[in-house]
Amino acid sequence: MTYTFSFTWLTEYYPVLLKGILVTIELIAVGGLFGVALGTACAWARALGPAWLKPLVSAYVELIRNTPFLIQLFFIFFGLPSLGLRLSELEAANLAMVVNLGAYSCEIVRAGIQATPRGQFEAGASLAMSPIQTFRYVVLVPALQRIWPALSSQVVIVMLGSAVVSQIAAEDLTFAANFIQSRSFRAFEAYFVTTAIYLALAILLRQALAAIGAMIFARRPAR
């Protein structure tokens, strides 16, 4: 092997990498927040919602969980304009991540809700709480606490999966790597550095989510 590694391109291209990192963080922040919100709403619908809503939510969850994220992204970005919905690259990437995480977190949150003892619902009802109030104050928070570790790893998986949004030219970290390798011809080094950044982001995100969990569920004994 006569190849010499060179990282001198870093001095010239680090702003590109930084911008890519920021976009990836923005994607997972929006995707994570709205995705989990959507997933929680769907979990409510599937576990406790009206009967007509359940099959719709099930169909959504099964369809998303059994197709690749890349195809969902292409469908939203290339397919939806023929229905009149034209999104920018970043909007499409954000929407795809919300829709994707929504389906996965629905299943995770639902597992947490189903683990709620029957008596908790009855206790809420006997305090004259409406079903919505019972869900909001009695069921949801302990359910989220139970499934927080599983939810955290799903958010990390979605963050890593967001690498493919570069394929619709959303300018995330992978897009930056592609850009750099096409300019500097240092493909291996560019992807090597980017992979290391993704690994660091994954570790940081995991710790941030653990810290957020500790903050939200502080003063609540685990059950």
């Binding site: 092997m1 197709t67 992979t195 690994l199």
Partner: protein
């Protein structure tokens, strides 16, 4: 300009689906073999092999599969080998699948009660005998549903190989879209074909989980 009927589109996509299926099978079987090796290194080996497998799993689970594909594609090229896309795709997917399967199976082996190890050791069994006759038969039952469930991730993971130029279902979708200008129909059909591949696997994973759990409760 050629006209494409929906049947033309579907036929071309189904032809490409062969390669999605072949790549999925290769990745899953190869990943299973490498994953089993990692598992043995992890639970039976010394401190160095345990640390190695820990970092291996952390590395492959903590970085995007797309980056692993790029590194395999461009990294192998550094050795002066002209890497075809299918080879890079196969290697990256096998290594990626192995990391996840090793981690799933480790959980299953650890679910076998500690006393089983001690009991078999007190019968004078060596490590290989313990695994072969006592631990694995019990761990296998726990392992089947999540393993089948993970195969869905493998099938979906093959979609990323289109990005390094391997022509399978997703790549065929892009090619057919460029020829027909009907992205809604084409990507809709691509999604349905993936769904047809993955949904039976998801469902059987759930069914197996119920069945094997039910067996467990009757003990």
């Amino acid at each position: 300009m050629m006209e494409f009927s929906t049947w033309d589109i579907l036929r071309n996509l189904l032809l490409a689906t062969r390669w999605t299926i072949v790549l999925s099978l290769v990745s899953f079987l190869g990943g299973g073999i490498v994953g089993a090796l990692l598992l043995f290194l992890r639970i039976g080996g010394n401190r160095i092999s345990t640390a190695f497998t820990r970092y291996y799993v952390e590395l492959f689970q903590g970085t995007p599969l797309l980056m692993q594909l790029f590194l395999a594609f461009f990294g192998l090229g550094l050795f002066g080998i002209n890497v075809p896309a299918w080879l890079a795709a196969g290697i990256a997917l096998v290594l990626w699948t192995a990391a996840f399967l090793a981690e799933i199976w480790r959980g299953c082996v650890e679910a076998v009660a500690r006393g089983q190890w001690e009991a078999s050791a007190s019968l004078g069994m060596g490590y290989v005998q313990q695994m072969r006759y006592v631990i694995l038969p019990q761990a296998l039952k726990v392992a089947i549903p999540p393993t089948v469930g993970f195969s869905v991730q493998v099938v979906k993971g093959t979609a990323l190989t289109s990005i390094i130029g391997f022509v399978e279902l997703s790549k065929a979708g892009t090619v057919v879209t460029n020829a027909t200008f009907q992205p809604f129909t084409v990507y809709g059909l691509v999604a349905l074909i993936y769904f047809a591949l993955c949904w039976p696997l998801s469902k059987s994973s759930q069914a197996l989980e119920r069945k094997l759990n039910a067996a467990h409760r009757n003990h």
